[in-house]
């Protein structure tokens, strides 16, 4: 398929193909690495740490917008956590208002991110809402005065070949996912990132929030490199606030009893 795509001939072909491709395969270009392509050594930085840098598809962390993944009865709620979910109203979804998604929902968009890394920091540049996060690799203690923020204070350390990121200082004005699972401001989020090959990176996220969840709630996926679409860069522009005319049409979804 040639792609200087302003005409319809190419588009029509793409559209026909598109109709047949499973949804999970449609967030381009998160193709599974071939065993051969992924069999090389884990890329490393000059100082020997696994090199996480590059463009990565986030599609493996989508969960369909619902961390329960169809098993709502298995969510490890506390009573307040279950009540908070029952009480949520989809019309109040923070990102529906273009508020920042916070953690871990930042990771649930289908759009890619760029990872930059040096000895002192790891930076995540997300396409979705054009948000960045900066992970401090030198500190072992959180800043005591970071609180009530959308992305908190993140410190990271290497445990063998795994980067472990600890994030606190969050507010309770974000949702865990589009489905509306809630969290408290005491939530801690731990990410464990392991580059497993030239074309793969395991990404595990743990929500630790004893007020709302009786045990850590863990999700994981394997990220694949993001390749640019011809004629476009790897990261595109996404400003939610540009034209959010949905707001005026949102209605309550709470059961009326």
């Amino acid at each position: 398929m040639t792609i200087s795509i302003h005409g319809f001939a190419v588009i029509a072909t793409a559209a026909v193909l598109y109709a047949y491709i499973p949804a999970a395969a449609q967030t381009p270009p998160a193709k599974a690495p071939s065993p051969a392509a992924n069999s090389g050594a884990v890329p490393r930085t000059p100082d020997g740490q696994p090199d996480l840098s590059g463009f990565w598809s986030m599609a493996a962390l989508r969960y369909g917008g619902n961390l329960a993944m169809g098993k709502e009865s298995e969510v490890p709620y506390t009573d307040p956590g279950r009540q908070a979910y029952k009480d949520h109203d989809a019309k109040d979804d923070p990102t529906g208002l273009c508020q920042p998604p916070g953690m871990p929902r930042m990771l649930h968009s289908p759009f890619p991110m760029m990872v930059m890394q040096d000895k002192n920091h790891v930076a995540f540049l997300y396409e979705y809402m054009r948000i960045w996060r900066l992970i401090d690799l030198n500190r072992t203690q959180h800043y005591p005065d970071v609180e009530d923020t959308f992305f908190g204070d993140s410190i990271g350390k290497w445990e063998g070949d795994t980067l472990v990121i600890d994030t606190v200082g969050l507010n309770d004005r974000t949702w865990l996912d589009t489905a509306g699972h809630q969290h408290s401001a005491d939530m801690r989020v731990v990410e464990r990132i392991t580059r497993t090959g030239p074309e793969s990176m395991d990404y595990e996220v743990t929500v630790i929030d004893p007020k709302m969840y009786a045990k850590p709630w863990i999700h994981k996926g394997t990220l694949k490199p993001q390749k640019a679409t011809k004629g476009l860069p790897e990261l595109l522009e996404y400003f939610c606030t540009d034209h959010n005319i949905d707001v005026g049409h949102l209605v309550s979804t709470k059961p009326t009893k």
Binding site: I3, I5, H6, F8, V10, I11, A12, A14, A15, V16, Y18, A19, I21, P22, A23, Q26, T27, P28, R62, Y63, G64, G65, N66, M69, E72, K86, H88, D89, A90, K91, D93, T95, G96, C98, S109, P110, F111, D177, T178, A179, G180, T229, L232, L236, E237, Y238, F239, C240, D242, H243, N244, I245, D246, H249, L250, V251, S252, T253, K254, P255
Partner: protein, 140 residues
């Protein structure tokens, strides 16, 4: 002309089933996934902006002759552009058939599930209705 039941009947056909599309808002708070409908009309405006592209379509009621302008929410630009669509892929004056989910607030608004040109070419396909998240009605 609104053919409320036709779209539902057609949606079982594999060719017309589109993929989940990411939305920044809950689908259930804006659209009713049980109310699918289909209209045919003429594109009057294309809004190529995030978080969703919109198209506006003049739809004529054949019995009364009255024309109503409908808005249809489509996918985000990131997804549409990576699929090959561009701002001028659809233009005012194009005649389209749109399958959509009706808005809950009763306005002339739908979430576009598919947009098909008169010659059958499919444009800007995809609805977020099939996403698992944001149902807002799966609490029990």
């Amino acid at each position: 002309m609104t053919k409320t039941n036709l779209a539902a009947a057609l949606l079982g056909v594999g060719l017309l089933v589109s993929a989940p599309v990411f939305g920044h808002h809950s689908f259930a708070a804006e659209y009713d996934r049980s109310k699918q409908f289909e209209v045919k009309g003429t594109v009057t405006k294309v809004e190529w902006m995030n978080p969703h592209a919109y198209i506006y379509v003049d739809v004529k009621d054949e019995s009364s002759g009255k024309v109503a302008n409908w808005a249809f929410e489509l996918g985000n630009l990131s997804t549409l552009m990576r699929q090959g669509w561009r701002k001028d892929s659809l233009k005012p004056g194009d005649v389209v058939t749109v399958q959509a989910y009706r808005s809950k607030d009763g306005s002339n608004l739908g979430n576009g599930r598919s947009v098909v040109l008169a010659d059958g070419r499919k444009v800007f396909a995809g609805s977020q209705a099939e996403e698992g998240g944001g149902r807002g009605d799966d609490r029990n």
